[in-house]
């Protein structure tokens, strides 16, 4: 310490960031057995992924099959990088416990901040298990091409990991900044469409390749991917094995260039995120237009407590970035997945279950979205069932038209328009069953979200909770609707006629049971739900 007590040189080491992240993680779990359990489950899953990945990547080396390695490495590696790109957007979100905005007041250089946040992002379960999984390629490279190939592959694996983390950080940061200001929601829609557009064709290509078993085409694809940033890091060792040493520096250059580009992009969006782009909104103080109740309810909704609750919820689905992001994600995934399956000749039946469940999952932490603002409903004494029904109704206002759209589009793409009614029936059944499951879960397993405008922000440990809840509800819904799926399959053409009423009845029944349970639980546990969604308690 200098006598003045002022550090003249701001620190440049990234380690304080790592320590801060680990400390936040540890403090988040202290005295909360549920969080510890979640963490353990997450660690087990990550460990399983690491072991399985290592085994798969190491097999070609054990068998001594170079052709298999040439296919597997670029394809598997690309899938990994792609997963890092898409999964945070679709399901898990990014742990924003190190929110860049919190560092805005510290005398940190941007370079220090970026390195620190980047290294902190590396110090996590996903990054560790990815590294362990891809280490299998090193073992294969050593078996096929000796120590030289192994060293090259090791460099590639590390580069690949850096690429994975950088791509997920850069993309979510760009998204968050994009959705932050209300005016740029159109930009967000476009970006989501781009991600979805990537998802669709890739799936088509993969499915087509797998069905035709045209290994030459797949090999060509693998070769091409090997020269893109997605696959380049994972094919370094193979180039050494094949004796094409000249390719190694070129591919390294590709990886390094992409990494630099991503980090630059990230730091640019980070800058804007730190400034907190406080959107001015539409602060036009017009004359007295419309009555307050008219402004809230519009023309259609009843002038009652239920009407007010539904109106507030629908406003929130559109105005709150997290909710809007989940609606957009659902729309994109709900349309593209079934369409791409239909195009490649698959059956859309099981997908109906997936889409219906995906819609309902958005409500898994419905009380967490607006945090302790829920206190207003408590002091007004809103009964649990009214609360639950109004929230489900507001969600359905958005989702039901989308489900109809999905049913129509899928049937038309598959050139089987007669299936519209039956498919819609299946969709309604799964949506209803999903709601029946998710509503009680939302009362029991509410957790707090940080007061952030980023749609991907989660408190530390929240990502795991969200992912597991999502997965659990999905599986539960699939199981619950299995009888209906079997019925639809067995009945064949008869289902085309009775599918819609039967599906709708099944969905309504499941919803009614679930909402009654959820309403009663909410009445019993109102203050506990409020405490659960309150940040920092």
């Amino acid at each position: 310490m200098t006598p003045a007590g002022v550090a003249t040189h701001p620190p440049t080491s990234p380690w304080p960031f790592v320590r801060l992240k680990l400390r936040l993680l540890a403090n988040g779990m202290r005295g909360r057995p549920a969080r510890v359990a979640l963490f353990v489950v997450g660690a087990v899953m990550a460990g399983f992924f690491a072991v399985a990945g290592y085994a798969i990547f190491a097999i070609p080396g054990v068998v001594g099959d170079e052709r298999a390695a040439l296919l597997l490495f670029p394809l598997g590696g690309s899938a990994l990088v792609f997963g890092w790109l898409v999964f945070p957007l679709l399901f898990f979100g990014v742990d924003e416990s190190l929110d860049p905005a919190r560092f805005a007041l510290f005398p940190l250089r941007r370079r220090t901040l970026i390195t620190g946040l980047f290294v902190a992002a590396l110090a996590g379960l996903p990054a560790l298990s990815t590294l362990a999984a891809t280490a299998g390629t090193v073992s294969t490279a050593a078996g096929l091409g000796g120590p030289g190939a192994a060293v090259a592959q090791l460099v590639g694996v590390v580069g690949g990991l850096l690429l994975c983390v950088a791509v997920s950080r850069a993309v979510t940061s760009a998204f968050a900044t994009g959705l932050r200001s209300r005016r740029s929601r159109d930009l967000a829609v476009v970006l989501f469409a781009v991600v979805a557009a990537l998802l669709g064709p890739l799936q088509l290509v993969l499915l087509a390749g797998a069905e035709n078993a045209d290994w030459d085409a797949v090999a060509a694809l693998a070769d091409v991917l090997g020269w893109t940033p997605l696959g380049a890091p994972y094919s370094l060792g193979l180039e050494v094995t094949a004796g094409r040493l000249w390719a190694v520096p070129l591919k390294l250059l590709i990886v390094a260039g992409t990494l630099a580009g991503l980090l630059w992009w990230w730091s640019a969006t980070l800058e804007r995120a730190m400034l907190g782009a406080a959107s001015s909104g539409s602060s036009r103080a017009r004359g007295d237009v419309g009555s307050p109740t008219g402004l809230l309810l519009g023309r259609r909704l009843p002038r009652s407590r239920f009407g007010a609750l539904v109106a507030r919820e629908t406003r929130y689905w559109w105005r709150e970035t997290r909710r809007r992001a989940s609606l957009i994600t659902f729309t994109v995934a709900g349309l593209f997945l079934p369409v791409s399956i239909s195009l490649s000749g698959g059956s859309a039946g099981p997908l109906a279950a997936f889409v219906g469940a995906l819609a309902a999952v958005a409500l898994a932490n419905q009380f967490g979205y607006e945090g302790n603002a829920y206190a207003a409903n408590i002091t007004a004494g809103v009964p649990g069932r009214v609360e639950i029904h109004s929230r489900a109704a507001a969600h359905a206002i958005f989702v039901l038209p989308l489900l109809l759209l999905v049913a129509v589009v899928v049937s038309v793409v598959a050139a089987r328009p007669e299936r519209i009614a039956g498919d819609l029936g299946l969709l309604l059944a799964t949506y209803g069953a999903g709601l029946g499951l998710v509503l009680p879960v939302s009362v029991r397993a509410a957790y707090s979200l940080p007061e952030s405008t980023s749609p991907f922000a989660l408190s530390s440990g929240g990502g795991m909770a969200k992912g597991l809840l999502t997965l659990g509800v999905m599986i539960g819904t699939l199981v619950a609707t299995v009888p209906l799926q079997i019925l639809a399959f067995v009945l064949g053409d008869v289902w085309l006629w009775i599918g819609l009423p039967v599906g709708a009845a099944f969905g309504c029944g499941a919803y009614l049971i679930g909402s009654q349970v959820a309403g009663d639980w909410l009445d019993e546990r109102t203050p506990e739900v409020l405490a659960a969604v309150t940040q920092g308690r």
Partner: protein, 259 residues
């Protein structure tokens, strides 16, 4: 050292707390708090930061479940008969978000309809409140974009909209500009004169001394002193009593010498 509460005849107290206890993890946030707030009083709840003011008020209005003890609002048990207890209650919580993705008028309409009022009354009162509190009847700004003072004011408007008999306000004057604060004081004084009861928390002595008929001093979750302002204050200033009761440190002048 406790000054006995002055009961105004046989009236039912507007708020009655009986042995409230609340523990967070290891910290005892509220310990055995019992308090009667007489109907028609202007009650100030004083305490330093972290004394348990917000926790006590949350326990009293049913936002937080006490570990032990009971709370009655206008004679109704908050946990046994929540609907009746909350019907005539208006709350302005502190540190609690509003439904801030609504505009000011929308938020007021929401609160009014939630209380089961008819739409015409809601519209008329909402317009009046927005006008009096200078929030603008045609303001389309979302509450999330309001300044801290405006947020306090819209929160107060929401608490007043259904004309409650008891107002529970947590730090109502914080971040509010002097002009608005004067207006709010005015509204509250008229409200009490008309038979309403106000209990509010604060750590600003001047405001409490000017407004309140009764005060209670809370520190470390324990109710140290309560009663009418005159009885609590005695011959001294309220600030002197407060610092002495809370056990604040007296500056020796030697600390922070480097500053």
């Amino acid at each position: 050292m406790t000054v006995p509460v002055q009961r105004a005849g046989d009236q039912i107290p507007a708020m009655a707390l009986r042995g409230l206890v609340k523990r967070f993890d290891t910290k005892l946030a509220v310990s055995e708090v019992s308090l009667d707030v007489p109907a028609g009083s202007f009650y100030g709840l004083l305490g330093p930061n972290g004394a348990g003011k917000t926790t006590t008020l949350s326990l009293a209005v049913g936002l937080l479940r006490p570990d032990f003890g009971r709370a009655f609002l206008l004679g109704y048990d908050v946990w046994a008969d929540p609907a009746a207890a909350k019907a005539r209650l208006g709350v302005l919580p502190d540190g609690v978000r509003l439904f801030d993705r609504l505009t000011g008028p929308e938020l007021l309409a929401y609160h009014g309809l939630l209380r089961g009022m008819d739409a015409t009354t809601v519209d008329q009162r909402a317009r009046e409140l927005l006008d009096v509190l200078e929030l603008g009847t045609g303001n389309r700004t979302l509450v999330v974009d309001y300044s801290a003072g405006m947020r306090k004011k819209i929160g107060l408007a929401c608490a007043l909209l259904h004309a409650p008999r008891l107002l529970v306000l947590d730090e109502p004057f914080e971040a509010v500009d002097p002009v608005s604060a004067a207006r709010i004081r005015d509204i509250l004084q008229r409200y009490v004169a008309g038979g309403g009861t106000v209990i509010f928390s604060s750590h600003v002595m001047e405001v409490v001394e000017r407004l309140c008929s009764h005060v209670a001093i809370l520190s470390d979750g324990v109710l140290r002193l309560h009663g009418t302002l005159a009885a609590v204050r005695g011959e001294r200033s309220l600030e002197e009593v407060f610092v002495q009761v809370v056990g604040g440190r007296v500056s020796t002048g030697s600390e922070l010498a480097w500053l």
